[in-house]
């Protein structure tokens, strides 16, 4: 549940970008970082290997502004996508208020997308959270690649979107769909907060 400070009227939400290796999770955060004014973001922390593969997580704190009189902040995290980093993926997922699943639209990556989605469900379950109660959106990234290499949004929807979640085609490298994805997951998280009687009582 988002952290709500009634004294200073602040809401802090943790959003995790999840998905297979090289699907574009870090690229999403890098694009957001490049677009947001200095005074509204903190330093982007990337715990990566020497070859720039995410080792533990990327982290970007954002200050969104005032919503219903509450200063709203987002903590954006990515997880390492590579299969053998599951222990760290699980740690980063702890306490997530919302999840963006970033799928690689390339046809040859569909198995990896499926495996990662199943891994997400498993890790959320192991945290004792019902996946149906967790705000989540799907992003079909790399839709800018040649059509013969990728699956169309409706094909990805058919293969991966079992729950009828909001989906967004994207080209995270150039920013297409990044804003829309963040907006949608933010709205899902805040909608859940507004429907509950409270955030964590503070």
């Amino acid at each position: 549940m988002p952290l709500v400070n009634f004294t200073t009227r602040e809401i802090t939400c943790k959003i995790v970008y999840y998905g297979p290796g090289r699907s574009g999770k870090t690229t999403n955060l890098q694009y957001i970082y490049s677009q947001v004014p200095d005074d509204r973001r903190g330093r982007m922390v990337s715990l990566a290997t020497q070859t720039d593969r995410t080792l533990f997580f990327d982290f970007l704190p954002l200050e969104l502004g005032s919503i219903s009189g509450f200063t709203t902040k987002f903590q954006l995290y990515t997880v390492p996508g590579q299969v053998y980093y599951n222990a760290t993926r699980k740690l980063v997922l702890q306490g997530a208020d919302g999840v963006v699943f970033v799928a690689d639209s390339q046809a040859r990556q569909l198995d990896e997308d499926l495996e990662s989605l199943q891994n997400l469900h498993q890790n959320i379950l192991e945290h004792g959270v019902d996946i149906r109660s967790l705000p989540m959106v799907l992003q079909w990234n790399k839709q800018d690649l040649p059509r013969d290499l990728i699956l169309a949004p409706d094909e990805l929807d058919e293969a991966l979107n079992f729950r009828g979640l909001p989906t967004f085609p994207a080209d995270a490298l150039h920013g297409a769909g990044v804003f829309e994805t963040l907006k949608a997951v933010s709205a899902e998280v805040l909608r859940k907060l507004s429907h509950s009687s409270a955030g964590r009582a503070t």
């Binding site: 802090t12 903190g42 922390v45 704190p61 969104l64 919503i67 709203t72 995290y77 907006k183 709205a187």
Partner: protein, 155 residues
């Protein structure tokens, strides 16, 4: 340096701990990295980065402890040239918390550990039971969210 807290009852134990241990920075957070109280930061976005890293260190140390058959590592200590970092968990009626303390050469790890123990006990004793709250956001929050994000992205 300023002290800010999410819940007012945590202010006095935190200020006492900061003074006794001569701490430069203290961050009290949930295991997921959500900040509940802090001393020493001006910008919230800088604070969130430190909290994320502190929570990650504790989480990975806990996972390592599990692998080698320990219940957990109660505290971690990193010594630098000018500053030391003490990172420890404590439990309260509100659940597990992580406390990150940065201190200088005017104090010592022994003193920090001593006063951290007192701080953890004071928090446990002072923690009230959870209280219910009314609805938080107005019904039209989505319009405000859209406008805030548009401003943030310069659209």
């Amino acid at each position: 340096m300023s002290t800010t807290v999410v819940e007012q009852w945590t202010a006095e134990p935190l200020e006492h701990y900061v003074a006794q241990a001569s701490a430069r920075i203290v961050v009290v957070m949930t295991p997921a990295g959500q900040v509940l109280a802090q001393h020493g930061f001006g910008r919230a976005v800088d604070l969130m980065g430190v909290a994320a890293l502190g929570a990650a260190i504790m989480a990975s140390a806990g996972a390592l402890a599990d692998l080698v058959g320990e219940r957990t590592f109660a505290a971690l200590f990193h010594a630098g040239q000018r500053h030391g970092i003490h990172l420890a968990g404590c439990s309260t009626a509100r659940g597990a918390l992580v406390v990150l303390t940065v201190f200088g050469r005017d104090t010592s790890i022994g003193l920090v550990e001593l006063f951290f123990g007192e701080f953890a006990a004071a928090r446990r004793a002072a923690a009230p039971a959870d209280s219910a709250r009314g609805p938080i956001l107005a019904e039209n929050f989505e319009a405000e969210l859209g406008a805030s994000l548009a401003t943030l992205f310069g659209r």
